[in-house]
């Protein structure tokens, strides 16, 4: 349940090639959609794949789980920026990890579905990112550790024109921008 959209591309790569971090998708791709979602991966540490039981394998698995929790996406109702009750545990977990790792900084990007006005959707994405930031701040995370931005409807995860696609596209994504190399779990 927890490891949702944020890590799907990387997890799929890991399954397919067992080398997500090492042979990352080339950065020359015109729109590296996934780089915005995936945490900065260190060479040789495929998240979710601790390796063949070597020393430190448990720690890597723990770090991968923390990265997954930080990357979990939250969703919104149509034309709304209110945090849904079902997403609060996801944000609570992020707040706990942020508080346990004071050097960690994140960027929240808000997204909209293709309905509504294209330019208003840039504003709506900003409001959605701000809603999650305000929630984390209310949990005691310093505002300076959270950047926000908006993609409007310009970067959908599902290009379909139906409610299932729209529901997936109305979302906040979370990306680590600093301090993600060493993570300690919340107490």
């Amino acid at each position: 349940m927890r490891r949702r959209l944020g890590f799907v591309p990387c997890a799929l790569l890991a399954l397919a090639a067992a080398g997500c971090g090492k042979k990352a998708t080339p950065e020359v791709a015109p729109l590296p959609r996934d780089s915005a979602m995936a945490p900065p991966s260190r060479p040789g540490t495929p998240p979710g794949n601790p390796g063949p039981g070597g020393p430190g394998g448990g720690a890597e698995a723990g770090r991968a789980a923390l990265l997954a929790d930080l990357g979990n996406v939250i969703h919104f109702d149509y034309d709304q920026d209110a945090i849904k009750a079902e997403d609060r545990p996801i944000l609570d977990r992020k707040a706990a990890i942020l508080k346990a790792n004071p050097t960690l900084r994140i960027r929240i990007s808000g997204h909209a579905d293709e309905r509504g006005s294209d330019e208003y959707n840039l504003v709506l994405g900003n409001k959605r990112a701000l809603a999650a930031k305000n929630y984390l701040m209310a949990q005691g995370v310093d505002a300076a550790r959270i950047d926000i931005t908006s993609f409007g409807e310009e970067r959908p995860v599902d290009s379909g024109s139906n409610e299932a696609a729209w529901a997936k596209n109305r979302r906040d994504e979370f990306e680590i921008i600093a301090g993600g190399d060493r993570l300690v779990p919340p107490k």
Binding site: V28, A29, P30, L31, R107, S109, G116, S117, D118, E119, Y120, L122, V123, N126, L130, K133, D147, I148, T149, S150, F151, G152, E154, R155, I177
Partner: protein, 432 residues
């Protein structure tokens, strides 16, 4: 029967000699709402020019264009000096005839004949690349606009281009107003949105999705490709740029945690950012200048939903512009001020789908222009008569043009989806 046709029928057929210098305007007077028939005569050796001009005249929506087949290159059926058969062209329903002739200096001459008076009304000669390919198309379009100006006294829109966002590569592309010459404008691998033209057509501005999460406004010179990030827009969240008509200012919206406000900056000296809208927790965005540069129309959520407001270019005198208390209360977005200053085009949600509307400022009257599918993001042509917009009526989102006088709609075909159109002013002047 149309009055001008009656006039033709009672006229005796006179064989007036052609006088090349005769530019006296006789016969047809252009009347908006009545489209005179116009025949484009065969133009041997000018196949491309003939085809482009005939289509431009048709797309101006100011004539009933009667296309005559081009002679094949070998059969020698051109006019080749024979007198014009005025009576025959009148039987086709034409009041005007256009003849295109190659001039020895590489130019192309367009002659405009008045078929009722049976005389040459005027002629114009412009330099151009007769193949009509690539940049050479613009020269041909300028000749079409000259013909429209000489025939009607009104500005044409053939020598204009539209910017659009291509969803496939997230780059801004441009296309000639007749749908040809589709080319990318912004660099590959950089995602952008919201293209805007400078009034002189030399520069564009847009929001870039920077890798660091910021949303700078980037200024790009079209001739050189030089790109400049506008001051204070690096590291911040900025959307919906719009140039002032004199090219000195650029207004845009900045998104911050306290709300979304409009700012203006001096785009000549790249300095002096000034905040135009106040108020916390309201959003103000999608600005567009009036053609005299004195006012700005924009979207604000200060009263709840998105509605169309206006203010002085310095931020004073803010007012709700388009009323929303006449039964149609849907969110309203994407305003654009017509080049004659008289009308605002925008889109408003009707029954859950956006539709294109116009608001006439003097009469304070609203008019809904579309109803088929979802229609949004109108942009005025420089003739103040045509509007480009985006519609999903044929499936994926594509660009269309509506003539607000006749209601005629045509599609500008693009291989991918096309969004957020921006129509240029007339591009380049013919030789002075």
């Amino acid at each position: 029967m149309k009055p001008w046709l009656l006039g033709i029928l009672v006229l005796p057929v006179l064989a007036l000699p052609l006088a090349a210098q005769d530019t006296v305007r006789v016969g047809i007077t252009y009347q908006p709402g009545i489209r005179p028939g116009l025949v484009v005569l065969p133009s041997p050796g000018l196949d491309s020019v003939h085809a482009i001009v005939a289509r431009d005249l048709d797309y101006s929506d100011r004539f009933e264009v009667i296309a005559l087949a081009q002679p094949s290159a070998t059969d020698g059926t051109g006019r080749s000096g024979a007198p014009l058969n005025f009576a025959f062209y009148r039987t086709l329903g034409a009041a005007l005839a256009v003849e295109l002739l190659p001039a020895p200096n590489g130019e192309v001459i367009a002659r405009l004949y008045d078929l009722a008076a049976e005389r040459l009304r005027t002629e114009v000669s412009l330099p151009m690349d007769r193949s009509g390919v690539g940049e050479g198309r613009l020269g041909v379009h300028r000749l079409a606009d000259e013909i429209i100006r000489l025939a009607t006294g009104q500005a044409g829109i053939a020598a204009t281009r539209l910017l659009l966002l291509n969803d496939e590569d997230k780059r801004i592309w441009r296309v000639d107003a007749d749908g040809a010459g589709l080319l990318p404008v912004t660099p590959a691998g950089i995602q952008v949105v919201s293209p805007a033209w400078s009034a002189d057509g030399g520069r564009i501005a847009y929001t870039q999705f920077a890798r660091d999460g910021s949303r700078p406004i980037v200024l790009q010179v079209l001739a050189t490709g030089t790109r400049t990030t506008l001051p204070t827009t690096g590291g911040t969240q900025n959307i919906t740029p719009a140039f002032s008509p004199d090219g000195r200012s650029l207004v845009f919206a900045r998104m911050a945690e306290q709300g979304v406000a409009l700012y203006a900056l001096n785009v000549q000296d790249l300095c002096c950012v000034e905040r135009l809208t106040g108020g916390r927790f309201a959003e103000n965005f999608s600005p567009a200048y009036s053609p005299d540069g004195r006012r700005i129309v924009f979207v604000s959520t200060r009263a709840g939903g998105q509605q169309i407001y206006a203010m002085g270019a310095d931020g004073t005198d803010q007012e709700l512009l388009v009323p929303f208390d006449f039964g149609s209360t849907g969110n309203s977005n994407a305003p654009d001020w017509s080049p004659d200053g008289a009308t605002i085009a925008f889109h408003r949600e009707v029954g859950g789908a956006p539709q294109i509307w116009t608001f006439a400022l003097a009469a304070r009257s609203l008019k809904q222009l579309t109803s088929l599918g979802r229609n949004q993001d109108p942009s005025w042509a420089p003739d103040g008569r045509h509007i480009a917009f985006v519609s999903d009526r044929s499936g994926r989102r594509q660009m269309f043009v509506v003539d607000t006088e006749t209601g005629r709609v045509r599609q500008i075909m693009t291989p991918s989806t096309a969004r957020l159109p921006a129509w240029s002013r007339s591009l380049g002047r013919p030789r002075q």
